[in-house]
């Protein structure tokens, strides 16, 4: 360790400092002036954007005895996390105020969760991977429970906490097996150890399975997905948005670090597991979503099916596949934020717009938001020229490039099934009469952020080149 190591973690230090500053200010500020925390939280994220931007360099640097790494992938993922989190913070204000939840702790916990994500993405040792994951998860558990007077939300937090604890335990067990055999926590060390093996011993395989189980849990892949619908449904829409977008990006980074950087050499061993997880996720996610009447549950199952697609990128097991998976995750996070943004926006005091029927005739109530939702749904269904189409295309191409045609065919067929429930939302919005005639009141800032967020799904679909090449450089 030397002082230059600290230069690498300037964004992390900044976020931590700001979160602590907000915490301290909170103790001295009157509760009427909570807007300040909101603004400070946004300032923190924008500061982090600038610092990450300034700190960025081509290439890769390790710090703190190899426990920390900065590379393009980390910077890109962090960058998207800041943006998506900032957008969700903007959406959250009105929603939280209407429920008397507009408190500094929400934003502080959010910032700590972001810090955990940053640490997780930049982890280069199993120790930091675990600590980053715990920091993120702990913050998320408490955010889910934040609406403590709501039974659903408390129940969701309880489930999330217990199952998440279980997954952490499994992860630790897997890591300790890997450590026990390889004798190192460093991911590069693990990779070196594995490269030297002729065949993989049973403990390392078992450790790998445990690690993948934990990954699958965090991603929400079937059969480790059971928490997803309940937590998405139970927590307040803002937290759901946060879990399904920013946290997904972090978990992608987590998978890349552990599975690819650490255990990439074992790809022939883990590929079969991932194929099972991916096909099951596509199957359960797409089919069960059809039967949902609650839009948050529907989006939960849709997330599960998207995870199936992301896993397809890993299955391809080459830089093309990984970058396709990264492109998929990034664009999913963006469209997901827009989708939940609209769900948050349509909710108001004492009313959650979380039933699909609540969207009936949205076009007649507010045609612009109906249009934005249309864009988002099209993108998720993979209709060209939306960005979701490219994401699916790239992943499928990577899989086909490996000669796994049947997998690609299964994925395409199931995403056709999936298109049904996205289109149903559109049908409800455009062809059904409005039951709810309440006016939709939206601040201009939220309006601008949400509009640009949803239009980004279209814009990236029209001009995907930059992001694709960014993902390619990030992986290689």
């Amino acid at each position: 360790m030397n002082m230059s190591d600290f230069a690498l973690i300037v964004p992390e230090i900044f976020v931590l400092t700001m979160a602590s500053v907000i915490l301290v200010i909170d103790a001295f500020l009157h509760s009427d002036r909570r807007e300040i925390f909101y603004l400070l939280a946004l300032t923190t994220l924008f500061g982090a954007i600038i610092l990450t931007w300034v700190n960025h360099f081509d290439g890769r640097a390790l710090g703190f005895n190899g426990t920390f790494v900065v590379d393009t992938m980390a910077d890109v993922l962090k960058f998207v996390i800041y943006l998506v989190t900032a957008a969700i913070f903007v959406y959250s204000r009105q929603y939280l105020k209407a429920r008397d939840l507009f408190k500094s702790e929400f934003y502080i916990l959010g910032l700590f969760a972001v810090l955990g994500m940053m640490i997780l993405i930049s982890a280069h040792s199993m120790l930091t991977v675990y600590l980053g994951l715990e920091l993120m998860s702990l913050s998320l558990y408490s955010m889910v429970a934040f609406n403590r007077n709501n039974v659903l939300s408390s129940e969701a937090a309880m489930k999330y906490f217990v199952l998440g604890g279980f997954a952490s335990g499994v992860l630790l067990y897997g890591m300790s097996l890997v450590y026990g055999v390889s004798g190192t926590l460093d991911l590069a060390g693990v990779s070196e150890y594995l490269a030297a093996q002729q065949s993989f011993s049973a403990p390392i395989l078992l450790g790998m399975v445990f690690i993948i189980v934990a990954l699958a849990f965090k991603l929400g892949a079937v059969p480790f997905h059971m928490w997803v619908p309940d937590i998405y449904h139970g927590s307040s829409s803002v937290v759901t948005a946060f879990i399904s977008t920013s946290a997904k990006l972090a978990v992608f980074g987590f998978s890349m670090r552990l599975l690819i950087e650490g255990m990439g050499i074992m790809q022939d061993s883990w590929r079969d597991i991932l194929i099972i997880l991916s096909v099951l996720s596509l199957l359960i996610g797409n089919i069960v979503a059809i039967a949902q009447t609650n839009i948050k549950r529907m989006l939960a199952y849709s997330t599960i099916s998207h995870v199936g697609f992301i896993l397809l990128g890993f299955i391809a097991a080459n830089p093309e596949g990984y970058s396709a998976a990264m492109f998929y995750t990034v664009t999913y996070a963006i469209t997901g934020a827009a989708a939940f943004g609209i769900v948050i926006l349509l909710s108001r005091e004492g009313f959650e717009a979380d039933n699909i029927d609540d969207y009936k005739g949205l076009n007649y109530r507010n045609s612009w938001y109906a249009f934005l939702m249309l864009l988002v749904m099209f993108s998720m269904a993979g209709v060209p020229p939306m960005v979701g189409f490219y994401a699916k295309l790239l992943v499928l191409k990577a899989v086909i490039g490996q000669g796994m045609y049947w997998l690609a065919i299964v994925a395409v067929l199931l995403s056709v099934v999936g298109a049904f429930y996205y289109l149903r939302v559109i049908k409800v919005m455009y062809f059904d009469g409005a039951e709810d005639r309440n006016k939709i009141i939206v601040g201009s800032g939220v309006h601008a952020v949400l509009s640009s967020n949803a239009l980004l799904a279209l814009l990236l679909g029209l001009f995907p080149g930059t992001l694709i090449s960014l993902c390619l450089t990030a992986i290689s």
């Binding site: 217990v162 199952l163 059969p223 059971m226 309940d230 089919i287 979503a289 490219y390 995907p464």
Partner: protein
């Protein structure tokens, strides 16, 4: 820096289109025309800079990708620009004519409720055409190609309350789809055999492609390059309205007049000609394709001109003349006289825009009356329109020293030197075409501006010259219609296009023609030794005799040769063929497939059946989500054990 200029040229009109289209309500009518005119003016000014840069300063050719859209299997899909003399000339023509049309529209559409929408569409049209001509790859070419088609669809059907306008734009769209299908197939063949969409890369592989064959049906071997060229040309036939895909163009007169001028002179129809010239390195390798082009071009040039003789709608006469002139350009392409084709394209752009806008001016003055039988003697009411129309007609028939003279004569001369088997037929057709052109042009001129007044009292009372926004473009277009011919020597004979057009030595007819060239005076003198000029004079003379001296003669002829007249009046029954045979058969097949295939098999069994199955499955599976924590934990542990078993068993056995 140059890159920014190149980028700004198409993007300015796009910006104008978006501003006028999406925010038309906020910026108002004058806002819409100011913003689009200024944006097109901007790109016109930038185009002149590019012309100076490329043509006069001989700057190096710019061929770069601006944006990589995506890379798939090593093939790049890009947006890029190829700026050479051909492009520079084209963007100059497009932006100039478009600018004139924009200004003119202020007057023509003054009272139309869809004012902003119209400006948005024509700016979009300009953008599409600029993207098309500036492209350096087939993908972008196709984008421009389709965008032009879309814009023309929107514009022809601009007055969507009119039944005829809807039919006309549908027709234009469908006929163009037929052409586009060929075009797309052509690009697909290129993609499959050359593995690239980039012009330069494809051209580099052209020699190689010409040695390969493609097996379409069992036993029939086609040369790949011939295949590509003919397929691409089918696309050009649609856009440039060549026989037999020409039927949409006369009907496109249903759109407002400014758009007719834009479609006919500067944008859409020139796309096909431009494309073939751009693809010259491919076409030069296939004599079959060149012969095919010659034949199509000469049929169009002669027979479409003949139809102009019997039209009474002033705009339709001009429309058929466009068809015929496009035939001339196509013939020039077929004879490898690309320079002459582009040159004719340029002069034609000026005088045809002029003729259309003049016809529009007449129509405005006549309160939207288009029938020439109800006009006559307008000379004294509308002097500016009259004189500019006369200039347009003279340029069109190739009267010596007018711009059309130089371009048309060089085409005819070039065809004369061509060794291709279809060249002789084409030459004869073109000669006959000269006479026909002169005849219908001056028939129109005399019927509109001379002879006695045939309009009703009410119209005559208000008959005056149109406002300055209408006449100014006329005058501005009349100038190049007269003088632009004088620059023909470097364009047609010189090395002007040597960087953008490739001509095989054996086909180099322009070179042969150029070797006899001894200055402009010599060219003019030489014209009097050949039949061309006399044929044109004869045409004018006959027109004067029939329509001014003995108006009864035409009516007599019409009765005497009623059968022929009817044949021509029905446009050779091509429309009937399309409507009654192809479309009826197509619809019948479609109906069978719909009833049997769609309703029974696909809808009934596959779609609804599978949807029902999925719905059932979904309802069963959702019950797995019980909500109990220990069920979830149990499922996770069970899943984990299953995964572990896979490995433990595999390792231990």
């Amino acid at each position: 820096m140059v890159e920014k200029i190149y980028l700004a040229i198409p993007l300015l009109p796009l910006f104008g289109a978006i501003a006028a289209g999406l925010f038309g309500r906020y910026i108002g009518r004058s806002g819409a025309h100011w913003i689009t005119i200024l944006s097109v003016l901007g790109s016109f000014v930038l185009s002149t800079i590019v012309i100076k840069h490329i043509i006069f300063d001989h700057a190096s050719v710019y061929n770069e990708a601006i944006y990589i859209w995506m890379i798939s299997d090593g093939i790049r899909f890009e947006i890029g620009f190829l700026i050479d003399e051909l492009t520079a000339l084209m963007i100059g023509i497009v932006t100039f004519v478009s600018l004139m049309v924009h200004i003119y529209t202020i007057g023509y559409m003054r009272d139309d409720p869809g004012y902003q929408r119209f400006f948005s569409y024509i700016a979009l049209f300009t953008f599409s055409m600029l993207m098309l001509v500036m492209s350096n790859n087939f993908l972008q070419l196709f984008f421009g190609w389709e965008a032009v088609g879309l814009a023309s669809y929107l514009l022809i059907g601009f007055w969507h309350q009119r039944e005829t306008a809807i039919l006309a734009n549908l027709k234009a769209f469908l006929i163009n789809r037929v052409g586009d299908f060929g075009f797309l197939l052509g690009i697909a063949v290129i993609f499959a055999y050359a593995n690239s969409l980039d012009y330069a890369e494809v051209f580099a592989k052209a020699e190689n492609l010409s040695l390969q064959t493609i097996n379409i049906f069992a036993g029939s071997e086609w040369n790949v390059i011939t295949m590509i060229c003919i397929l691409l040309f089918i696309g050009a036939m649609g856009k440039s309205a060549q026989f037999p895909l020409h039927v949409w163009l006369p009907d496109s007169m249903e759109g407002p007049t400014p758009i007719s001028a834009l479609i006919h002179a500067a944008t859409m129809v020139t796309a096909g000609i431009f494309m073939v010239a751009r693809m010259s390195p491919l076409y030069e390798l296939s004599e079959t394709a060149l012969n095919f082009i010659l034949m199509i071009g000469s049929i169009t040039a002669l027979f479409m001109g003949l139809l102009g003789l019997i039209q009474y709608d002033i705009k339709r006469v001009v429309a058929y003349s466009t068809l015929s002139q496009l035939g001339y350009m196509t013939v020039a392409l077929g004879a490898s006289a690309y320079g002459a084709a582009i040159f004719h394209l340029m002069t034609h752009a000026f005088f045809k825009a002029l003729l259309f806008l003049a016809a529009g001016s007449v129509i405005i003055a006549m309160h939207h009356e288009q029938d020439m039988r109800k006009m006559g003697g307008l000379k004294k009411y509308m002097p500016i329109t009259h004189w500019t129309s006369l200039i347009g007609c003279l340029a069109l028939i190739g009267f010596p020293l007018f711009s059309g003279f130089f371009s048309k004569d060089s085409i005819i001369g070039a065809v004369q030197y061509s060794d291709l088997s279809a060249a002789n037929t084409a030459y004869m057709a073109l000669l006959a075409g000269v006479f026909v052109t002169a005849l219908y042009s001056f028939r129109m001129y005399f019927m509109v501006f001379h002879t006695r007044d045939r309009m009703d009292e009410h119209t005559r009372e208000y008959l005056t010259e149109t406002s300055w926004v209408v006449t100014m473009p006329l005058v501005l277009l009349a100038i190049p219609s007269i003088f632009s011919g004088f620059i023909f020597e470097p364009i047609v004979f010189g090395e002007f296009f040597s960087r953008s057009i490739h001509v095989a030595d054996s086909h180099n007819v322009l070179n042969e023609l150029g070797s006899t060239f001894e200055g402009i005076q010599g060219f003019v003198m030489h014209a009097f030794s050949g039949p061309v000029t006399y044929l044109a004079f004869a045409g004018v003379g006959v027109a004067y005799w029939i329509y001014v001296i003995k108006p009864q003669f035409a009516v007599d002829m019409q009765h005497r040769f009623n059968l022929i007249y009817k044949f021509m009046d029905n446009k050779y029954y091509i429309d009937h063929l399309y409507i009654n045979v192809f479309s009826v058969a197509g619809r019948a097949i479609g109906k069978v497939l719909w009833k049997l295939g769609d309703n029974v098999v696909i809808d009934g069994f596959i779609v609804n059946g599978s949807a029902r199955a999925m719905g059932w499955l979904s309802n069963v599976l959702r019950h797995l989500q019980t909500g109990y924590l220990y069920h979830y934990a149990f499922a996770m542990i069970a899943g984990m054990i299953a995964l572990i078993s896979m490995f433990v068993i595999a390792v231990n056995i």
